[in-house]
């Protein structure tokens, strides 16, 4: 029996995958702000004691310089490791045969605009404007840019499902993009937050080939911000 014709765009449906993380509060503007502050506090809690210890050691005895230097190095390395964890969400997971990749890229290209298509070809990432900020979507993760802060989310096609591991890279991006477009807040709820911090810190840890995509996302964010003013 043919389906009843339905009118699109009238019903909003929560992303069904949110049911698998029912214990998580749905991501909202307020929750994102709180998460950002929490990450800043956590970073400070890691950095300040080491810097304090370095200062104290030097004040007590200048001969402790080597130990103080090690403390400062720790204070520098820990946030860098967190940023690296954030950058890893955009890591490519290997390409499949040429023909499936070409077909997948063609479909993804149809879903995005002309500029985004060029950027996608060059970097493997898609810039997508949302209500929470500007997103940068990769194969197994996404970045959300808000002002000077970036949120790095680890999210991908559910690998427990048959056929998921055989998807071409373009299709993996398209899966995430469609889910994001359907329910942005639900998408951020399902995804695991790997890092939140300063944009500049993340940029340094990203592969050079991917940085133009981050720059494009920042440009889009700036356009969005200037439009709101």
């Amino acid at each position: 029996m043919p389906a009843e014709p339905r009118v699109l765009g009238r019903d909003f449906e929560v992303l069904p995958e949110t049911a698998s993380v029912h214990w998580r509060p749905r991501v909202t503007e307020d929750r994102l702000r709180r998460l950002g502050r929490l990450w800043t506090l956590t970073t400070a809690a890691h950095v300040v004691p080491f810097l304090g210890a370095a200062g104290l050691l030097l004040w007590l005895n200048p001969l402790t310089v080597p130990v103080a230097v090690m403390c400062v190095a720790h204070a520098w390395i820990i946030p860098e490791l967190y940023a690296q964890r954030g950058a890893n969400v955009l890591r490519a997971h290997g390409r499949r045969a040429a023909e499936p990749e070409r077909r997948a890229l063609g479909l993804l290209g149809d879903l995005v605009g002309h500029d985004a298509r060029d950027l996608l070809t060059a970097t493997g990432l898609v810039v997508e404007r949302g209500s929470l900020g500007t997103w940068l979507v990769g194969e197994a993760g996404a970045l959300l840019l808000r002002r000077r802060r970036v949120y790095c989310y680890c999210v991908r096609v559910d690998m427990r499902l048959p056929g998921a591991s055989e998807l071409p890279s373009g299709d993996r991006v398209a899966h995430l993009l469609l889910a994001l477009r359907a329910d942005e807040h639900g998408f951020a709820t399902v995804a695991n937050l790997a890092f939140s911090g300063a944009r500049w810190r993340l940029r340094r840890r990203m592969r050079a080939a991917m940085r133009p995509a981050l720059d494009a996302a920042v440009k889009d964010l700036d356009t969005l911000s200037s439009g709101e003013r």
Binding site: P16, E101, A104, V157, L161, N192
Partner: protein, 74 residues
């Protein structure tokens, strides 16, 4: 011509093509659509730039219906 496609290891496969005024083709498309939903796929339709909508019944007027797998936190 409307299309039902599934993202899979081939890039994507076209599962059905129909025109809204062809009831037989629509019926075949609905059957293919329901089979894929039963297999765990989710159906998505673009509803404008930057927007998509999940559908549980085949929207026969939609030019392109895309089947995707569920996502999960990595």
């Amino acid at each position: 011509m409307c299309k039902l496609i599934r993202m899979d290891h081939t890039g994507h496969s076209t599962l059905a093509e129909w025109t809204p005024d062809d009831p037989v083709a629509v019926q075949d498309a609905v059957a293919a659509f329901r089979t894929q939903l039963d297999r765990g796929y989710l159906a998505m339709v673009s509803t404008g730039p930057g927007h998509a909508e999940q559908v549980r019944e085949l929207p026969v007027e939609a030019p392109l219906v895309i089947l995707r797998l569920p996502i999960a936190g990595g």
